[in-house]
């Protein structure tokens, strides 16, 4: 049997593709890559074999999605950079992922809360993007939204299990929520760049995503018997390059080979 890993492909960019989308596509790419990287750190260390496989599946989905975005971003930029140049040769302050996804794995409860916050946004965003005006972005979203639907199901069920599980799991979940919830707000708080793109209709208005996100969170937290946090301060910065200290360490690992051996093929 031959090796048949599906290669993410990006179709040729239509001449009308708006260059202005570049920073947004790059932001999506960085976000999926950094979260995939974090999840991949679990590989071999999961709480049970079956969930080790589940997390690797999610990481692989996100990695594939990131590659599609990077390839598209490279075409939009049209400066001869490749997906790997964009992923491996930019510094922390040039990365545009929200703070949430670079937060360390912590215990399983932290990983689940981080994942739930992200999935709940990601899924609802992709549902809009797949019907959006940019054909290439819509095509990537069309494929990814199916994956994201599964991710959201997975993380939602784990929030419920941990919330309505044992005393210890509840305590750990509460702690994870206290640590990570403040990073959720950045996902739906548009930067100036995003606002500009929202004004042109290329990027959905995040306010329109909020009711569905809120409804899903309410449903899950009710099942989990956990009060849904309200009026949490939103820690912003990642999407404009103001990152937490964690990202630098992550990138020094991620980029180690490309930085140590510049310009080689692997």
């Amino acid at each position: 049997m031959s090796a048949t890993l599906p290669e993410p492909t990006a179709a040729a960019v239509p001449a009308s593709a708006p260059r202005s989308l570049f920073p947004f596509v790059l932001q999506l790419a960085d976000t999926s890559l950094i979260l995939a990287h974090r999840l991949s750190e679990w590989c071999g260390h999961g709480p049970v074999l079956e969930q080790d496989l589940a997390m690797a599946n999610i990481a692989l989905d996100l990695l594939g999605e990131a590659r599609s975005y990077y390839q598209y971003a490279a075409e939009l930029e049209d400066q001869g950079r490749t997906e790997d140049d964009l992923a491996y040769l930019r510094s922390a302050v040039e990365y545009r992922n929200p703070l949430l996804v670079e937060q360390p794995n912590g215990d399983f409860a932290h990983t689940i809360v981080r994942q739930f916050l992200f999935d709940n946004f990601h899924y609802h965003l992709l549902r809009e993007l797949k019907d959006g005006p940019d054909a290439q972005l819509a095509a990537i979203a069309e494929k990814s939204v199916k994956e994201a639907a599964y991710h959201l199901k997975w993380s939602s069920e784990w929030v419920i299990r941990l919330g309505d599980g044992t005393e210890e799991s509840r305590k750990r979940l509460d702690k994870a929520i206290a640590t990570l919830w403040r990073f959720g707000g950045e996902l739906t708080t548009p930067t100036e760049t995003e606002k500009g793109l929202q004004a042109t209709g290329l990027v959905p208005d995040y306010a329109t995503l909020l009711p569905a996100m809120q409804a899903h969170a309410e449903h899950v937290f009710a099942e989990a018997t956990v009060p849904l946090p309200t009026a949490v301060f939103a820690q912003l910065g990642g999407k404009t390059g103001r990152h937490s200290e964690h990202l630098g360490y992550l990138l020094s690992e991620l980029q180690y080979m490309q930085r140590t051996y510049p310009g080689l093929k692997w």
């Binding site: 049997m1 031959s2 090796a3 048949t4 890993l5 290669e7 890559l33 990287h37 991949s40 750190e41 590989c43 071999g44 260390h45 999961g46 709480p47 049970v48 074999l49 079956e50 969930q51 080790d52 496989l53 690797a56 599946n57 990481a59 692989l60 990695l63 594939g64 990131a66 590659r67 990077y70 997906e83 790997d84 992923a87 491996y88 215990d107 399983f108 199901k153 939602s156 069920e157 419920i160 299990r161 941990l162 309505d164 599980g165 044992t166 210890e168 799991s169 750990r172 449903h219 899950v220 099942e223 690992e253 991620l254 180690y256 080979m257 490309q258 051996y261 080689l264 093929k265 692997w266």
Partner: protein, 319 residues
Amino acid sequence: METLEQVLTPEEQFQARIDADVRIEPKDWMPDAYRKTLIRQISQHAHSELVGMLPEGNWITRAPSLKRKSILLAKVQDEAGHGLYLYSAAETLGTTRDQMLADLHSGKAKYSSIFNYPTLSWADMGCVGWLVDGAAILNQVPLCRTSYGPYARAMVRVCKEESFHQRQGFEVMQTLCEGAPEQKAMAQEALNRWWWPTLMMFGPKDADSPNTEQSMKWRIKRFTNDELRQKFVDMMVPQAEFLGLTVPDPLVKWNEERQAYDFGEVNWDEFWAVVKGNGLCNHERLQARVDAHEEGAWVREAANAHAAKRAARGAAVAA
């Protein structure tokens, strides 16, 4: 007229079925020693997959390109899958995964010593795929016809997936060997470290392998250690030559008469030292597994507790 059953003991009937290549299934009668041998062998195999995730897993975060990162993650994940298939096969013999893990964690159960060697460079990902998985496949392909049904079926699944592993490893090596001088040097250096430990994967020499004869008779094993080792060398030396790499054994030489390669003697002192726990990574590999299991206990307990609550409520599954 007496039927066969009246003449033969259960052991003899069992052996007759094995000799006729009839698969043994979980509820069939089997000698205790057969059951024990299988549990030992299958769980050891499962543990090897599980521990085997660690040396490669530690390069997932450092893979040099997005494509390589995806491939490596998928590959290491496959190993988790293989471990799972094998634990499941062993569970049909009446043991539990918890019991097998307890034996791994206490040091009672063994896993393949190869994983007690460190992975130091990216080329090690090539060597592990090309050499280590190559050696594993030689061991595993005959097991697709092993006498115990669930084990054979698990191995069919494993082997299907494993061939991608070896190919990606070879491709990593080939890319390095066709690359810059420092990449080629990286490949050679890795081969120098991995060659001998890989030869050790086939186990002690036949003369020092007391279980081989019985295992062959039961068709749990279908080739001896030395046969497989020779096959491996014959397979790998030409591949190394193709890559332009030198196998670190000055005694490797084609023997026209035997139609096989001669090769040097494995350092058996090193082999036994690593088996007995004195490899560089024995401690940290085992500790990593113990940590994952212990730190995961509260997660598994929470899921059980929630399932029990839900069952008690008789509530429909939502979310």
